[in-house]
């Protein structure tokens, strides 16, 4: 591309940006009480157009430079899974070498000199998302079922523990298996009618189910207390020894048991290790079940359903197990979330959470356990780090999702090609390159 061509292309992009910016950026609405007031701010359009112009020019220059470096005359294809780049090579080894390193780091983290309250707290949040990502990975990555309402199971787990603890005085450890069981039951109830359908219908039904759960939690005020949420959920104890400075009569507090000075960080570190163990159980479970017949059946089903049927695998039951197991881990994570926060409300379980968890699985490279850790860390730390620009952080979050997908559609650390179809054949849903 010559410089003049680039200029023209960038000019066109800037023109489109200016027209797009005209209504929404060019005018500012003012609340006057009566009819909506309006004020022009055309300089915003100029900012938008100029930044798009410069950005597009830089992008085109970069593409040309890249093509020159690659020595390939054809236009840059964003999806070329055959080309082994550095990340793909890392990805193929990630689960073997990267995972032990990550686990060692996670275990050592609270003892690091820089690990204060905030760091451990943040790490706990990351681990919750890692666990959710690993749980959803069973459904999406292994079984190939698109679940857009995973947060519903997370909510079921959280509310199960909260209600059991509030109404029947259950402790965290007693309620944990029940929360998983309950979430799995919900998974089966939902999955049974819809798993026989085609994949995309499953997406919309799970999305609808996520909304239904949220609406029910909001409106069934007698039980869930509606939008006020449930407060005063029992905090976890160290196997019966509470984390309080002054325990009730007859109880021994954690710090007394070990003869330590009381510090509120004990509980935070304990919570961190609890979620670490829960997440590692999820990981271990996934790694092992992949090698069992049922795990093999999931992956086979993802690749070719018809071949599976021909081999005598019952697709509905196989999918149902994946769905239920994924839901169960969501339930575990949910009940941990409830005990950590001490307060839950339907607001924590909106669609955006499901989208974030799905994005973690896909960005990480579906099926790659280590990739999910990296994606979870990236997607949870990005909004945290950008907290000063709170208005812009979700904007950046959405843009990052789009850009990463364009850059690496197969995910950050995919160690296998997502489909094994011939590239010349159109896939039934995605379509080939014309």
């Amino acid at each position: 591309m010559t410089f003049a061509q680039r200029l023209r292309d960038a000019g066109l992009a800037a023109l489109v940006a200016a027209v797009l910016a005209l209504p929404l950026l060019g005018f500012e609405t003012i609340d006057t009480g009566g009819p909506l007031g309006i004020r022009a701010r055309f300089h915003w359009i100029a900012y938008a157009a100029v930044s798009v112009f410069i950005g597009r020019l830089a992008l085109l220059a970069f593409f040309d430079w890249w093509r020159l470096r690659q020595g390939r005359p054809e236009p840059l294809q964003s999806n070329a899974p055959a080309r082994k780049d550095i990340l793909t090579r890392i990805g193929s080894q990630a689960d073997k070498y990267l995972m032990p390193a990550l686990i060692a780091f996670a275990i050592a983290l609270p003892m690091m000199p820089f690990a204060d309250r905030t760091v451990v707290d943040l790490a706990t949040v990351v681990l919750i998302y890692v666990m959710l990502g690993w749980g959803l990975n069973i459904v999406v990555g292994l079984a190939g079922l698109l679940d857009l309402g995973y947060v519903a199971f997370y909510a079921v787990g959280a509310y199960t523990y909260a209600l059991l603890s509030l109404n029947f005085g259950f402790g965290f450890w007693e309620a944990l298996p029940l929360a998983g069981l309950f979430a799995a039951t919900f998974g089966i109830i939902l999955g049974f009618p819809v798993l026989r359908l085609r994949g995309d219908y499953l997406a919309i039904v799970t999305l609808g189910f996520g909304e239904i759960i949220r609406v029910v939690l909001l409106n069934w005020t007698d039980v869930t207390r509606g939008s006020n949420g449930i407060t005063g959920i029992q905090r976890p104890s160290f196997f019966g020894f509470p984390f309080t400075s002054s325990p009730e009569d007859g109880q021994t507090a954690f710090h007394e048991l070990f003869g330590l000075e009381y510090s509120s960080i004990h509980r935070i570190i304990f919570l961190y290790y609890v979620i670490l163990v829960l997440a590692l159980i999820t990981n271990l479970f996934t790694m092992r079940i992949r090698k069992l017949p049922i795990g093999r059946a999931w992956e086979a089903l993802r690749e070719d359903e018809i071949a599976c049927k021909a081999l005598g695998i019952n697709p509905t039951n196989t999918k149902l197990t994946a769905f239920a197991i994924g839901a169960m881990f969501g339930g575990f994570a949910g009940s941990f979330f409830a005990t950590r926060q001490g307060f839950i409300s339907p607001e924590s379980f909106s669609f955006i959470e499901s989208a974030v968890i799905l994005a973690i699985v896909v960005l990480g490279g579906m099926g790659s356990q280590a990739g999910i850790v990296l994606a979870a860390a990236f997607l949870t730390l990005l909004p945290e780090l950008a907290r000063e620009f709170s208005l812009f952080r979700m904007l950046a979050f959405g843009a990052a999702m789009v850009l990463i997908m364009i850059w690496r559609p197969q995910g950050l650390l995919a160690h296998r090609e997502p489909t094994l179809r011939l590239s010349t054949q159109p896939s039934s849903s995605g379509g080939g390159k014309p």
């Binding site: 009566g34 909506l36 919309i204 239904i212 029910v216 994005a359 959405g398 843009a399 997908m405 849903s429």
Partner: protein
């Protein structure tokens, strides 16, 4: 009886709006097999452009309602269409041919981006719009209840019917419609036979966005308020409508939209308005159990 009739009218009005949005989903799904998650936000942007255009017209001094409506309709259709085109160009075209979930994630990202873009640009508070079309026809006068068909409802239903008729004609009888149907059946073959598939797909997005813009304008007039969050639920329901009618089928989207609108109106009227969304989804699940391809969808032949 009067009450029933009134709910029927309300339901049809609501259904018309859902049907307009659902067409955008079903066409995109038909042509590239992808759930265009950002479509609900496109509808929201259409509604915002309509509100802002009304305010600008108010400042300029065009207050004759039919003229103002016409101008706003055209402006919001054009600008929203451009938004649809840009979204496709940036977020979906580079991903064509990659695996199935990639465009979906990109679409979810785009949806989050657009929602926050509008929130930043125009603020999070709801934008009111003064009622422009008042009055209506009293159809039936009962003892306690009067059935009215407002002029606004007439406008919404008439515009929707006209657009749908025009749209069906466009798909059935114009070169663009032929190209679209060809791409839907076999994109590679269509490309070999000289159909510009990229352009056809782009135009599909533009047309879908234009219809969503009309829906946005209509709901703005009907409810009188807009905020940056309306796209999510409307998009969800319209997509439900498209699936209910059989995704990929144009008459199916219209039928599904109508049904969802009616279910919602009647459920809210006779049972509880809090659970009207739950009702719509439950009906969807029940229909899918008995007719897995939706009401008017064709069964897909699976090939090895």
């Amino acid at each position: 009886m009067e009450y029933f009739l009134q709910q029927l009218i309300n339901g049809v009005t609501l259904g018309a709006v859902y049907a307009l949005i659902a067409i955008g989903y079903t066409m995109v799904y038909g042509i590239i097999g992808m759930i265009n998650f950002a479509h609900g936000e496109i509808y929201m942007i259409g509604a915002f452009i309509a509100v802002i255009s009304f305010a600008v017209l108010g400042v300029v001094g065009i207050t004759w309602v039919p003229l103002a409506l016409l101008i706003v309709l055209i402006v919001s259709m054009l600008l929203t269409g451009l938004y649809g085109w840009t979204v496709e160009r940036i977020a979906y075209r580079p991903l064509r041919g990659s695996f199935r979930l990639a465009p979906l994630i990109s679409a979810i990202g785009m949806s989050i981006f657009l929602q926050n873009y509008v929130q930043i640009a125009q603020g999070a508070r709801i934008k009111p719009l003064q009622p422009m079309v008042r009055g209506g026809i009293e159809l039936m006068k009962g003892e306690t209840f009067t059935v009215t068909l407002s002029y606004l409802q007439i406008i919404i239903i008439v515009v929707t019917v006209l657009l749908m008729a025009g749209f069906s004609w466009l798909i059935a009888a114009t070169p663009l419609g032929r190209a679209q149907r060809a791409c839907e059946q076999d994109r590679i073959m269509a490309a070999l036979l000289g159909v510009n598939t990229d352009r056809t797909i782009s135009l599909t997005f533009v047309l879908g966005a234009m219809l969503a813009a009309v829906a946005g304008l209509m709901t703005t007039l009907y409810y009188g308020v807009v905020d940056f969050y309306i796209g999510f639920l409307a998009g969800l329901k319209a997509f439900t409508a498209a699936v209910l009618g059989g995704i990929g089928s144009l008459p199916g989207a219209m039928l599904g939209g109508m049904l969802i609108g009616l279910i919602e109106a009647f459920w809210a009227a006779y049972f509880s308005s809090e659970y009207k969304d739950v009702a719509a989804f439950s009906i969807l699940v029940i229909v899918l159990i008995f007719r897995p391809t939706g009401l008017l969808g064709r069964p897909e032949v699976e090939k090895v």
